[in-house]
C-alpha cells in the first residue's frame, strides 16, 4: 500500500467536497424527487394503502431514503466522468500519487453528499409527522446500514463513471436502481401482490433493507431481514468494488 494513500485521498476528498459546497444544488436536486414522492404518497395515495396500525409516513420513509441514495450516486458517476473527460484525471495519474486515491476521493465525497441529502429528507419527514421512539444507538444502526448501502451503490456508480462514453450514460445507470423500491415492500405491503411479482419483491435487496430500517425505527425485532440486508449490501459492495478496480486498472495502464 502506498504511504500517501490516506493523505492523497484526504486531499482529493477536500477537492470534491469543495465542488459540492460551491454547487449545493446537487444536494438539493438529489433530495427533491424523494421529497416529492414522500408528499405524493403520504398525502395522495397513502390514504388508500393499508399498512395496519403503522402511520403511512413511518411506513414509507425507509424506502424513500433508499431512493434518495439511488438518485444521489448518479452525481458521483457524473463527477468522475467529468474528471476523466477534462484531463485532470490524466494529470493526477501522471503524478506520483497513490493510484486509488482518485477513486476513494470520489467515493467518500459520495457518502458525505448522500448523507446531507438524507438529512434533508428526514427533516421533511419529521415535519410531515414521522416519529420514531428509537434511541441514538438505533439511529446509528440505521445510519450504518444506509452508509453500507451508499458505499455499495457508489462503487456501482464508479463503474458507470469509468465506463461511460457520455454524460448521459454516466448518470443513466441509476434509473433502474431508483425504480427498484417500487417493486418491494417500500410503498405497499407485498402480501397482496400477484405471485411472481410478490416473489420478486420479497427476494430483491430493497425489501430486506427497507424492512430492517422500518423495524429498527419501530423498535421491533429485525429478525432475519437484517442478515439478508447486510448480505446484499456487502455482496454488491465487494462485487462492484472488484469490477470497478478492474476497470480502473485497465484504464490507467
Amino acid at each position: 500500500m502506498n504511504k500517501h494513500l490516506f493523505g492523497d485521498t484526504a486531499t482529493l476528498l477536500g477537492r470534491s467536497l469543495r465542488h459540492i459546497l460551491r454547487s449545493p444544488d446537487t444536494i438539493i436536486t438529489t433530495a427533491i424527487t424523494p421529497i416529492a414522492m414522500l408528499l405524493l404518497f403520504v398525502y395522495v395515495f397513502g390514504g388508500a394503502i393499508d399498512t395496519g396500525d403503522v402511520k403511512y409516513v413511518n411506513y414509507l420513509l425507509p424506502g424513500i431514503l433508499l431512493i434518495t441514495v439511488a438518485s444521489g450516486i448518479a452525481y458521483t458517476a457524473y463527477r468522475l466522468f467529468l474528471d476523466l473527460q477534462g484531463g485532470i484525471f490524466e494529470r493526477f495519474q501522471s503524478m506520483s500519487i497513490a493510484r486509488s486515491a482518485v477513486l476513494w476521493g470520489h467515493v467518500l465525497t459520495s457518502v458525505v453528499a448522500n448523507f446531507a441529502s438524507l438529512a434533508l429528507v428526514v427533516l421533511v419527514a419529521l415535519l410531515m409527522g414521522f416519529r420514531s421512539s428509537a434511541g441514538v444507538l438505533t439511529w446509528l444502526g440505521v445510519a450504518g446500514i444506509l452508509a453500507l448501502f451508499t458505499l455499495a451503490l457508489t462503487w456501482l456508480a464508479v463503474i458507470a463513471g469509468l465506463a461511460a462514453k457520455s454524460t448521459d450514460g454516466a448518470g443513466g445507470f441509476a434509473y433502474p436502481i431508483i425504480f427498484l423500491p417500487f417493486i418491494s415492500s417500500a410503498f405497499v405491503p407485498t402480501d397482496r401482490m400477484p405471485g411472481p411479482v410478490r416473489w420478486f419483491a420479497e427476494h430483491q435487496p430493497v425489501t430486506s433493507i427497507v424492512n430492517t430500517i422500518r423495524n429498527l425505527y419501530a423498535e421491533q425485532a429485525v429478525g432475519n431481514d437484517i442478515w439478508a440486508a447486510l448480505a446484499w449490501c456487502v455482496g454488491v459492495l465487494v462485487l462492484a468494488y472488484g469490477i470497478a478496480m478492474m476497470v480502473y486498472r485497465r484504464k490507467i495502464s
Binding site: 500517501h4 493523505g7 492523497d8 486531499t11 482529493l12 477537492r15 469543495r18 465542488h19 460551491r22 454547487s23 477534462g86 484531463g87 485532470i88 490524466e90 494529470r91 493526477f92 495519474q93 501522471s94 503524478m95 506520483s96 500519487i97 490507467i252 495502464s253
Partner: protein, 261 residues
Amino acid sequence: MTLDPAIHVQGVEKSFKDVHVLRAVDFDVARGSIFALLGSNGAGKTTLIRILSTLLKADAGSAVVHGYDVATQAAEVRESISLTGQFAAVDEILTGRENLVLIAKLRHLADRGGTADALLARVSLTDGGGRRVSTYSGGMRRRLDIAMSLIGGPPVIFLDEPTTGLDPQARLQVWAAVRELAAGGTTVLLTTQYLDEAEALADRIAILHQGRILVNGTLTELKRLLPPAKVEYVEKQPTLEDVFLAVIGRSATAVPDGADL
C-alpha cells in the same frame, strides 16, 4: 555530451486495434534542452507523450525518462516529470490558487501556499488567483495549466500542443515561460503542429509523420536538407501578427477606441 540523455526512446511501437500509431520511434533528448516533436494531427504525438508520461504502455521498444524506465519504474518516472496535456487540465470550480495548492499537496510539498503564490506571480496570474477558473480566458487557463506543471520543479516537462487555440499574445507568453524553464535547466519535450513554434523554441526538432520520425536535427541541420537558399528580393510587409501585436500593444498604453489608421 557526457551526461545521459534526459529522455531516451528506442524502437517504441504502439497500435490501437489494427491502426499502427507509432512504428519504431527512436530519439534522444539532451538534458536542459527544448525538443520539439513536430507533426500534423494524427501523427502520433499525443500517443508518444502518453507513453512517456506512463499513462499508456508501449507495445514494443523501450523508453527511459530521467534515468528511469517508463514501463518498470513508472513511480520514479512520475516523480521526475510533469505533463501539460492538450486540453488544459485544470479544475474549473476551484480558483486558480486552489488549483495550485491542490497540486502542491499531491506533490507532498511543505509550503503549499508560498509555492502557489510564487507561481501565480511567475505566470502573471496574481490578480486572477482568487477567481474561479471557469471565469478565465483560454490564455489564463493555459498559463495556470503550465504553472501547475512547474510545481515541485520536475526535471522533465512534457507539453502537448501548449499553444493550440491561444491568441498570439497568449502564445508569446507561453513561449517565454518555456524558454525560462529551459534556461533554468529543465528538459522540455513539446509537441506542436505549428512550424514557427518549433522554429522559435526548439534546440532540436524531430518530424513525426505516420508514426515514424522522418528527420531529427537542429534547425540549421534540417534547413540543410533542402537545396541552398537562393537570394530573392521581397518587399518586407508587416505580417498580420505584427499589426495585431502592435495595435493591442498600443491600446494597452491608451489609444482612443476605434482609432482610424
